[in-house]
Structures are given as structure tokens and as C-alpha cells.
Symmetry: C2
Subunit: 339 residues, 2 copies
DNA sequence: AATTAGCACTCTTGAATCGAGAGTGCTAAC
DNA sequence: GTTAGCACTCTCGATTCAAGAGTGCTAATT
């Protein structure tokens, strides 16, 4: 895959221009705006070569060319220069996180996703913290009325989960607090994925006397472990409507419907192999999900505390401002992690 | 506004047919399918009258007619017959609420909104419980680590709110529990809107010693009173994409953007004057919100416990199956309230 | 050997035209 | 009061057409 310097320049020009105006770019345009000094005819020959090699596509015989997915890939891998965000924008981001006193993890994430989508005009996707990797911190049961209590679960990452449970009327306040402190002592410091079925079974046995009430407790524990583990947060879902490639209702519908299927989104974001700069770019079909065939995903992992806890990404059309998107993402994630 | 019986029949026919096929209905269709025995010409004359009176509209000279908003209004007020849901569907609804063990109010509402939108193919909007009207039940502060605690607030409607707050290190466990029980005793049984600024000020004075830490507590209280009070839950936001009247991206964008502005939605749902059957129907411009000019809203209030706590509605195109929508809404709300 | 000017060719796009079809309004007959 | 008949209007889709953009190829130029 060795391209002459000139071919690279031309490919870059096509990508740059197409990203900007969303219309096939012809040889004249390239000659006039990007490679002054060369005639359209020369450019034409080169572009014909690039097309043959698979980097460019002609929508029809007599239109300009647009980058193929292979073209974008090459651009992203070899041609793209890192964007240095204007100081102003950097400050905005830093300040955004500073001004707010966000404490709970969920609020932080929601806020981040809004910020990302408004900065880029793409849709932001954030895969929430892996509960499994965070450590159990504290469990408390707080009586609410005669029959019910509120079970509260806190992890060291600031993740809070609560649920109303039934309490047997026969249970005295004393017994309750004994049970709670017993559970706390058993679970303390364990990461959530260490709280296995075995351990839960063991506890169940120890406390068999109160089994009925504990069922609810254990259910919550199990839910927290499984179902809720990979929560996905979205921001700016309507931004795609501004992209000219989504003038077709059917496409819009497909994407918006996808946005409601969080399990699919979670799969999309799962386990990116983070590269040099820490950012992974998935272009079009590289995404393995039919619905985002025409989209690209720019993503990275993020940490809260020391552990990698989740993935954070921006989804836009393949015709995306890759460099700027990467820069924004890096800046936001770095600010986020300083919290 | 007195219409002859025949005019009423014709208006009903036009509405019925247009709702079904989403295309202007002509005199022939009415004569053949709805008022057999009369000739198209007769129907034509009547339809011309109805148009002059403002109940029908002709999109262009040579198309059939469609109902105007006034036409829909008349239909809804005087012509529409109550739909009796098929037993099957009724059972589905009852079972849906029965099967689940939903305890927390938020889960119940979320589930209801999904149910409504999937039953009707419209978008469901639910205005959450008014915190102000619900009674304060319990407040608890649970230490999480050296610097932080989790403040949990429960109301009698099962509404739970929590927040991480900073605790001064100087505060002993004993003092903390004294403060908590003091606050509980002061606030117990009050409805939230009785917890006025005055009362909070009073408490602030009594506990001036711990002011710093209490600031957070009071902030949460105030937030719960104000900001979060009118939370809106949405279901089936993409359903509108299936309606032929939303083939235009601009319209879709306008609506979806509206769906993200919860304060506007809350205004839309606020304080409906509930009529005889308990259901209010707002057609098109009656809604006062530019974005839903072409939509109708079928809504009612709902109770949890004894008090009216919120509004629940279905938003669809003006060309809506009003009768069926009303029936579904009533059935769902009644099942919901039995919980 | 690489570049470029020139030119014929292809394809899209938007406007204009046309005919079919649907539905109307009006008139005159029933 | 109802209806048959008919001319008229308007939309919609297909077709045509010219303009414009861009190409590929050839031959001339550097």
C-alpha cells in the first residue's frame, strides 16, 4: 500500500473537502484549492489511479469522487494531523467540569455526554462503569414503614443503587441492624465480581432464618451484578438529523431505533483495543452493526479512580471531522479523569 | 353548530376513513363504504357544506377532503363512540402490571410509558408525581467514608432521592444520628410543600453549629422541591417516525428536539382540566406549542395512593385513533392505580 | 517520460411538458 | 331533495430536454 507523496496529498484533499461540503469533489476543485500548480488533468489521472486502488469512489460516471471506507482508513492512519484545539475551547471544557460540583457518578456521566455531543454535533455514547470491577463499600437497610425498607448499596466509585424491599414484620430493629452489619463485614472490600453465587449461597445458609426477606436483598445484589452492569448513556441523539446523509427517514429510523437498544450499543462499545494515542476509530462496516454501516465511531476508554471503567465514544457519519473529534474526546476525557 | 344527522354521518365517515388510510377521502368512497344508498353527488353537496362550515378541508381543488381541527373537535365531542377494548387486550394490560413486582415509583412509571407506547404506537408522556404534594417520610444519612455520606430522602409515595454529601470530619457518629433524628422529628408527616423556606431557615438556626455540612442537606431538600419536581418520562419517541405525516425530516427534528426539552413538555401536560370521562383531548393548535401543531394529545391525571400526582398522555398525529387511544389510556391508568 | 490542453462523452439535475386519474362543482333532469 | 352527466381542476408520475459538471482519452507540449 505505498502511495506516492502526491497521491497522498490528493487523497487528503478529497477527504478534507468532502468532509467540509458533503459533496463529491472533482479534479478541478482539487487543483484549484489544494494542489495549486497542477492541472486538473494531472489530478484526474491520479484520481483514476486512487479509484482503481480502492481509496476513492465515483458515485456515478460524471461526478467527482468521494473517499471509500478504505480511503478514510488510510487518511486516519497516515494522513491525519492532530488538531490542537483552540485555547478557548480547551478552557471551556476544563471550566465546564470545574464549575459543577458533580459528585455522583451518574450525574458526571450524563453531564459528560451532553458536553461531548454539544461540542461536536455528533452523538455521544458512554458505556457506564463496570460495576464488577468496583469494590463493594457499604450496604444499609433503612426502615421506611412497617412493611418496607430501603436497601442502599454503595460502591467505592461512588455508584449508588437502591431499592425498596419488603421486611418481615417480625423483624426487630435490633435484628435488622445485626444482619446488616453481618453482611457488611462479609462483603467489605470485595470487588463486586468476587461476590459470586457461591458466596451468596453461603450467606443465604448462614441467615436462613430470614430467608424470605433476604431474597429481595440478594435479588438486588444479583441485579446490580448482571442486568445493570453495562448501562449506556446517550447524548445528542438528534444531532444526526443535521447530517445531510440522513435525509432519508428510513435511515434515521434505523439509527434512532438502535439508540433505544442499549444492549446492542453496549456491544458496540465493548472492549476497544486502545492504540497509541488511546483513541480507537471504527469506520463504517468495521463496526459489525448493520445500522451504523454509514457511521464512524471514535472512542476511548476512561478511568475513574485507578481502574479502567468504561468506554466513551462519538458516533457520526463516516464523513466525519476525525481529527477534531479525536481532539475534543481526548480533552474531555482527560478533564473528566481529573475529577 | 347544529348539523343534520346526515352531515354528522358524513363527517364521521370522513374522519374514520382518513384516520385509517391517511389519504383525503372523496365522495365516492363515502357513498360506497359508509353511506350506501346515497349517490356520490349528494354526498358531494353535503361535503361542500361541511367545508364551508369549517369542518372539512380540501388540500387542493381536486382531492378528497380531510377533517379540519374543528372537524376533529366535533368528532371527538359528539360523534366518537367509546371503544370497548377486546378482552384479550384488557387482560394483557392487567397482567402486565400484575406479573411485575414493581415497587419503586420511578420503575412503575417507566414501565407504564413503555407499555402505553407499544400498545398504541404513539408517544407516551408521563408527568411524574408532584413531590410537593407527597408527604415527607424519612431522611437518613449513611456514612460512606471519612469525608462523605449518603443522604437519602423518602416520601410516602415511594419516591426516593439520594445524594452524596460532604461530612465534616469533626462530626461524630453520635452527633450525626442526633441531627438526623432531630430533622426527622421536625419534618415528619409534613407534605413537602409545607417545608417552606421559613422552616428551613428555622432549622438552620437551630443547628447553626453544623451549618457547613447542612448546606448540602438543605440544597438537596430545595432541589427536590423545585428542579426535579416535574420530571417527564417518555416512551416510544420513535413511533412518530411511522406516521406518514412525518415524512419530512424538519418536522421530525422539531418534535424530537421538543422531546428533549422536558420543561416544555411539563408545561404541555400541566394541569389538564379533566372532564366527564376523565380524559382530556387537545387537538393540534389547542396545545399552545408550535411544535405539536399537527399533533393531538390524549391525556388524563393519575393517582398513586389518594392524591392526584401527575398527568399521563399519548401524543400522536391529529389523525389519531382517538377512541381506541382513550380506551387504552383509561384501561392502563386504572390498572396502574390499583397497584 | 511526465504534464497538460482539448474535446467528445456520460451522467445528474431541474425545469417543462404531457396524459392519466381522481375528484370536484354545476346544471339539468328525475 | 336527489342524482346523472359532464366539463373542469389539480396532482402525480413518466418523459423529455438542456445545462452543467466532471470524466477519460488523445495528442501536443515541456
Amino acid at each position: 500500500m505505498n502511495l506516492s507523496a502526491r497521491k497522498k496529498e490528493i487523497l487528503r484533499a478529497v477527504v478534507t473537502d468532502y468532509v467540509k461540503v458533503a459533496q463529491p469533489v472533482g479534479s478541478r476543485t482539487v487543483a484549484r484549492r489544494y494542489l495549486v500548480g497542477l492541472s486538473p488533468a494531472t489530478i484526474r489521472n491520479e484520481m483514476a489511479d486512487l479509484e482503481e486502488m480502492g481509496y476513492l469512489i465515483q458515485p456515478h460516471t460524471s461526478a467527482g469522487r468521494i473517499p471509500s471506507q478504505k480511503g478514510y482508513r488510510f487518511y486516519v492512519d497516515e494522513l491525519m494531523e492532530a488538531t490542537d484545539l483552540p485555547e478557548k475551547e480547551k478552557k471551556t471544557i476544563k471550566k465546564a467540569f470545574h464549575d459543577r460540583k458533580l459528585r455522583e457518578i451518574e450525574d458526571i456521566i450524563k453531564y459528560t455526554s451532553r458536553l461531548l455531543s454539544s461540542l461536536t454535533n455528533y452523538t455521544s455514547l458512554i458505556l457506564g462503569p463496570r460495576l464488577k470491577k468496583s469494590a463493594f463499600k457499604k450496604l444499609q437497610i433503612m426502615p421506611v414503614d412497617a412493611q418496607r425498607g430501603l436497601l442502599v448499596l454503595v460502591t467505592d466509585t461512588g455508584f449508588v443503587k437502591n431499592k425498596l424491599i419488603n421486611l418481615p414484620q417480625t423483624l426487630s430493629a435490633n435484628e435488622l441492624s445485626r444482619i446488616v452489619s453481618y453482611l457488611n463485614s462479609k462483603l467489605k472490600g470485595l470487588t463486586v465480581n468476587k461476590i459470586t453465587a457461591t458466596l451468596i449461597g453461603e450467606l443465604r445458609r448462614d441467615l436462613y432464618y430470614h430467608v424470605k426477606f433476604l431474597e429481595d436483598t440478594f435479588t438486588l445484589l444479583e441485579e446490580s451484578l448482571a442486568e445493570d452492569e453495562r448501562r449506556v448513556f446517550l447524548g445528542g441523539t438528534t444531532n444526526i438529523l443535521n447530517q445531510p446523509e440522513f435525509g432519508d427517514i428510513e435511515k434515521v429510523k434505523a439509527l434512532l431505533t438502535l439508540f433505544e437498544q442499549h444492549s446492542l450499543l453496549a456491544a458496540l462499545l465493548a472492549r476497544p483495543v486502545v492504540g497509541v494515542e488511546g483513541v480507537v476509530i471504527k469506520i463504517g462496516r468495521e463496526n459489525l452493526l448493520e445500522e451504523v454501516r454509514d457511521c464512524s465511531l471514535v472512542m476511548t476508554t476512561y478511568c475513574l479512580g485507578r481502574e479502567v471503567v468504561g468506554t466513551i465514544g462519538l458516533l457520526g457519519p463516516t464523513r466525519m471531522e476525525y481529527s477534531k473529534t479525536v481532539a475534543v474526546l481526548q480533552q474531555v476525557v482527560s478533564s473528566l479523569q481529573k475529577l
